[in-house]
Amino acid sequence: MSDADGPPGAGDAGDSTESGAETERASDGPDGRYLYCVVRRDDDAAARLDATGVGGASLSVVSTDRLSAVVHERTEPYESDAPDEVREWLYDHQDAVENVGEAFGTPVPFRFDTIVRGGDETIRGWLSANEETLSEALDSLAGRWEYRVEVEWDRDALAERVGDDDERLAELGEKLSDASEGTAFLVQKQYDKRLSTLIDRRRRGRSEELVAELESRTDDVRELGDAPQTPLTEAPTGPTARFAVLADESECDAVGEYLDTVADEDGASVRFTGPWPPYTFAPDALEPAEEVEQQTEERRDGTGPAE
């Protein structure tokens, strides 16, 4: 898609930069690298690595003294509105990072469709410039993987439970059975509102319990909000809580055991998936890198228009 190449009508100030960039690109050839993840350099693991990337692309390992990036040659982002095709790409990406992780240990995973302008040298430069931050991130994630936990409660089961010990609701219930046809509508509304409040409170309480329990068993826990962001499967109908946890193998076992006790309470159903590369935790582990990176880029691009 030519869209990604340059901003048509991007403004007057951009013109000189544009032509400058064009010259650079022409001398280097159109070069780009799809970046999957960063790992500690390990030449044995690199030799063992037998994996392909998105769309069957062949992966290459680009290394500095201490770090390696796993990439494939690609200049344009992947674009499609065909769900099946995109889903295949996502699986390809995931498989690649999983294979790399098996060979090298926990990677710092990058978001799908992250494409760096430039070739292997650019990647090496970037690895070197961010070596400290990337190394620290790898250390902090080492031996741990991400797991996703989603708990969905059955609304009716919750309603039954919360209704039992709330005086206000019991009061409204009595009032409702005594109410004349005229006032019943209003009382019903009050009743429903009270019930919703109680259910929500209960869900929040259960959610907090879950966080505390998960925290006591793992390295790190993030709340992900209660609605799934991608309605790929049917959306949960009941109150839901979602978490990402960072755990090693034994911590993962402990989470699994705990989740067994959660299932069935208040009609809860539990979805537990993983191990994922630490997608949720990587951005924070890398936080300071982006500043360094930006500065590096600015230095590198110092040939831009005069200020």
Partner: protein, 82 residues
């Protein structure tokens, strides 16, 4: 209980969530992709949620185009600041 592996059908919702929303990101500057705005994800989500009618009416295309325009302007601003 054992976690369902990422290849499991049960995990597909997490697959899309983690790959399109999470993961480390590079500066828009270094990267070719439309950073932070996973357009593929939006199209994918729309199609899978059965919101094809919205796509038919062009709502997503408009949105898509608007996001791209914003991105272009951001990039242009970035260039002119140098």
């Amino acid at each position: 209980m054992e976690p369902a592996p990422p290849s499991d059908d049960d995990a597909v919702v997490d697959l899309v969530d983690v790959l399109l929303r999470d993961g480390a990101v590079l500066d828009a500057d270094v990267v070719v992709t439309v950073a932070e705005i996973p357009l593929i994800g939006i199209k994918l989500r729309a199609a899978i949620a059965g919101m094809t009618t919205m796509t038919e009416y062009g709502l997503f295309e408009d949105w898509d185009e608007r996001i791209r325009e914003e991105q272009r302007q951001r990039e242009a601003r970035f260039d002119s600041e140098r």
